[in-house]
Symmetry: D2
Subunit: 92 residues, 4 copies
């Protein structure tokens, strides 16, 4: 997958914020915060990861659809590959 530098930077920054959230969770456990507060932060981190995944799917679909309309290629194989990734995402 070729992605332009701006998109790549934005994706890495987004992952860095999620990494920060996971480190924040470690501090919450370290300082023996209330379990319910920890769970709330875990839910927020999970949601951030899901939003990142949805953004990736969206960009990937746009690239694949554009390529299919320009070059033909093997759209069925591509569609199956993406569908499998989406299935894992929906089930996670």
């Amino acid at each position: 997958m070729h992605i332009d530098e701006d998109t790549k930077r934005a994706q890495i920054n987004r992952l860095r914020r999620i990494e920060g959230q996971v480190r924040g969770l470690q501090r919450l456990i370290e300082s023996e915060n209330d379990c319910v507060d920890v769970l709330t932060q875990v839910s927020a981190t999970t949601k951030a990861l899901e939003s990142f995944a949805i953004e990736l799917v969206s960009q990937h679909l746009q690239t694949c659809m554009r390529e299919a309309s320009e070059n033909g290629g093997d759209p069925q194989a591509k569609a199956q590959e993406i569908s499998a990734a989406i299935a894992r995402l929906v089930r996670s």
Copy 2:
């Protein structure tokens, strides 16, 4: 979306089984079954609905990719529309 008759029959049969699962849940509540058993059946029903959705996404992607490779059209608009549906699915 045009789908062939066999696929349509298979999809409706699948939804009928899910409808049966939801009626089964009503009987479990009616006969005051253990709450944990009811929850287990709710999880099974949710999983069945998710699998149905994943199958729909998969078929739809194949149709869209094939159409994009054959006719061109507006692949970006299509990609955005599907992405929005996938986002709702992942978040549900």
Copy 3:
């Protein structure tokens, strides 16, 4: 689990509405609606099932906690049983 009649009626009515949503899905497929519209309705149905499950968990926890505070009993066994049901729910 003993539940009062009002709660039982409310739960069954809720499941009947979900059953209606699943029948609505069959009509959408039957009339060859747009796949994205079908997916949107599947997501709504999944969310309704999840909300029903969350309500059940909430009522069950209240019953279990009250019983634990009144009778003692075997709270660890109960806690494990509920945790397993919640795990299935989170993963579905």
Copy 4:
């Protein structure tokens, strides 16, 4: 919430591995890996976070049920607080 040192260490180690997974995702993006591979790793990371949350819920429920059976206290308030955290988890 008081948790013993062993449990605390185990939880922090688990979060460190998840932090490692998020850093791994950044490397995948940096080296322009295939989008489907990135999505597969995002799903694995989300699942790891969910398992961590399920473990937390399980430990918390055991503590709350034990305390309810020993001290009485206000089990309804506790049950509602946990239910709200579980609801956020199921919906995330």
